[in-house]
């Protein structure tokens, strides 16, 4: 699982029928220290995350275990909205 920040939404009318009713978000992976990493991912939102939220994304076949994603063509799901991240290395700053 990785941390990511919600960067936007995706709207698609023509899609696999099993994806109907899902909210799709564009998310940008971030390192635990807050630095943004390269690339974007489209993920299914199962926790009603909003723009700018720090979230946890599950990828691969485990993404289908998220709430309501069983047997859906999904390989990235947002499964939690992060409240706090604590790093033991914060003393270095």
């Amino acid at each position: 699982m990785i941390l990511a920040r919600v960067a936007g939404t995706i709207v698609a009318t023509r899609k696999d029928p099993r994806l109907e009713g899902f909210k799709l978000l564009i998310i940008k992976p971030v390192a635990p220290d807050g630095k943004e990493e390269s690339g974007y991912v489209i993920a299914v939102d199962t926790v009603q995350a909003g723009s700018g939220d720090l979230v946890i994304m599950v990828s691969g076949s485990s993404a289908r275990m998220a709430d309501g994603c069983k047997d859906k063509p999904v390989d990235a799901s947002i499964v939690a909205i992060v409240d706090t991240v604590s790093l033991d290395t914060q003393k270095k700053k």
């Binding site: 699982m1 635990p32 991240v85 604590s86």
Partner: protein, 91 residues
């Protein structure tokens, strides 16, 4: 499975129902020389690992097997705490 070190924790109130009561740890993957390698990631905890501990973690769908029969959506789980590591090195 890969070696790693627990370097932090994540708290989330709003999450998947199957993730409730699960601890989430930030893990830095390590080489056998215990040098950091690769990106830090969020892992669930199946063994009660704590801050700074040397652990090994499992990737992929198998990462959810420690929590069966619950179908926990995770693709990285801490499945063991390392007591000792013996590696033969070429001279």
């Amino acid at each position: 499975m890969q070696i790693g070190r627990v370097i932090g924790r994540v708290w989330a109130t709003c999450k998947d129902p199957n993730l409730e009561t699960q601890r989430m740890l930030i893990v830095q993957p390590l080489t056998v020389e215990l040098e950091p390698t690769g990106k830090q990631l969020v892992c669930l905890d199946a063994v009660g690992a704590g801050a700074g501990e040397l652990i090994y973690w499992c990737r992929g769908k198998e990462a959810s097997f420690p929590f069966l029969p619950a179908e926990v959506p995770t693709e990285a789980t801490v499945v063991g705490i390392i007591d000792r590591l013996d590696v033969r090195r070429k001279k």
